[in-house]
């Protein structure tokens, strides 16, 4: 498997002199599997635009494009590149869009296509030339994608339904875990609080811990884990329940789960190259936090598993 980062930012694209090194585009990855014509794309943040251009040059000459897009969730920073993904305008392209929707939301097609209305964009989603199919995904194990590629999905903790993806191929594992914040006990734990309920506090704690263990089990043994790490522990104090993780959490969890390589991902748009360089010195020292090799995801880089 070969993974390429086309966008590594969270929240909003932030191109400019301060983000040239690690990149300013929003979340997008390309996954290639040996012998597979289909290109797997994870998320359609702004980075998907350049991936589209690349596919036209690299893949289209060999025949119509086959693309499987897996959305981690439908927050705007993960779908905003979709209208600029040129293959959707090419007749013959076969695109399958997979992703979760929150239970009360519209169908995936409307959620993703909702941004392609005349008031937002000159082309309506109904006018696309490609053959596009949409599939709502929930939590699932052992989905056979054919050719020996297997997919597992897991609900994560984010303000809307978000999915982590685990691709397995010939003994290698590539896993995503974003946008995600560790589960926490939401119930009142102060025994002096008038609404305190011992059983609730206890169960809330147990479930949060159990879900955190389940997430770690989901990426256990991954050869590459791409994990949400928008904040430092210090920054997180004012961002609780925003749905994102810290570097410290991602690194500790990856080590506990025996992950081989951890890509810190979904960089905060305010994080400059200079700041990340400083953080590399703190968080990416070999062996400092365990055996997991830690690096900051960088736009344009490729990892072969």
């Amino acid at each position: 498997m070969k993974i390429k980062f086309w966008g590594v930012r969270g929240s909003i694209p932030c191109p400019g002199p301060n983000t040239m090194k690690y990149g300013g585009n929003g979340a997008c990855m390309e996954l290639r599997v040996d012998g597979r014509k289909e290109v797997i794309v994870i998320d359609a943040g702004s980075g998907v635009r350049e991936l589209g251009t690349f596919l036209l040059k690299n893949d289209l000459p060999n025949g119509p494009l086959e693309v499987a897009l897996y959305l981690s969730h439908t927050h705007w920073d993960h779908i905003m590149g979709f209208p600029y993904f040129v293959p959707i305008y090419i007749p013959g392209t076969r695109l399958k869009v997979h992703g979760p929707v929150s239970f009360e939301d519209d169908p995936l097609e409307d959620v993703v296509g909702g941004q392609m209305k005349y008031r937002y964009f000159p082309i309506n989603v109904g006018e696309l030339s490609a053959n596009i199919q949409y599939e709502r995904l929930a939590e699932e194990s052992d989905r056979d994608l054919g050719g020996g590629l297997v997919l597992h999905t897991k609900f994560l903790n984010h303000p809307i339904t978000a999915l982590g993806y685990r691709f397995e191929y010939q003994g290698k594992v590539f896993c995503t875990c974003y946008d995600h914040e560790p589960y926490r006990n939401l119930f009142i734990t102060d025994p002096d609080h008038p609404e305190y309920d011992e059983a609730m506090a206890y169960e809330g704690e147990q479930v949060a811990e159990e879900q955190n263990r389940a997430v770690e089990a989901f990426f256990r043994g991954a050869d590459l884990l791409v994990h949400d790490s928008q904040y430092t522990d210090a920054e997180y104090q004012t961002k609780v329940d925003w749905g994102h993780s810290t570097f410290e959490h991602a690194i500790a969890a990856a080590n506990r789960a025996g992950v081989k390589k951890l890509a810190l991902f979904h960089h905060d748009p305010d994080r400059s190259d200079a700041q990340i360089d400083e953080m590399v010195k703190i968080y990416c020292q070999p062996g400092k936090y365990g055996d997991t090799e830690v690096f900051f995801a960088t736009e344009g880089t490729e990892i072969v598993l």
């Binding site: 929930a138 939401l186 119930f187 609404e195 609730m200 809330g204 479930v207």
Partner: protein, 286 residues
Amino acid sequence: MEKDSAAQRKQIERFIKRMPSLSTTVGKVMEICSRTDASPNELNKVISLDPVLTGQVLKLINSAYYSLMNKVTSLTRAITMLGMNTVKNMALSTAIISTVSGAKKSKTLPTAKFWAHSIGTGVCAKLLARANNVPVLECEEYFVAGLLHDLGKIPFGDEYSEVLIRANQEQRSLIEVEREMLGIDHQEVGRLIAEKWTLNEAMSSAICYHHDVDAAAEENRVRAAYVGLANMYANIQDIGYAGDPFPSEQSAAKMLELTGLTWEMFTEIAEGVDAEIAKAQIFLQI
């Protein structure tokens, strides 16, 4: 074929007497859902007071999110895994609809269409309120008021089909024909149910006065007017079916004046209405 109105009323009163009570849980769930500062503890406690509701909410959550796997086995778990909002919304709609739909008797108004109309009115009332800058915390109550506004039609028996036919043929408002043929209208029947369920005044007013907003107490008049307009919109747009395709134009003008809404605002919410209704449909499958 007009029935003696005293006999008619008696029959309806008998029906209402046999209707299930609205549990105190539902009232409390309604209250919690209308507050954004409600704590997870409060929400959990209120729902768990009613084991049937708890079961329904968990069933709905499992089927919506986990298909075949029954992963969510407790409310605490549901709230931790899926968040307050998801659980809150599911509980509210489950509570109300499951209480009320059990009571439907007459085949005159098919259940699914009747609830589609009710949901449509609720959604529309909420969106109109939102569009007109009603405080966000109150908007959910507009939904519930709209959802319940036609409760009074539930106890009508098979003779109601004649009322529907005449209102349609003569292009008159339904309420007028109800009074003429049955000697009682669905607002009045609604009042009897609201009293039985001890709904609060604001909610009762929407049920009792959505066709006669002037008769509502001043503090509840505007909300009743929102519900009345939402009801008209749902009727005109054929969202579900609860009769009344020819509402009174006179009362429409009055309600627009009261609420400060304009017809343009109806066009603006049109798209949102469809989306919200699609979301709410799943509750009809319970």
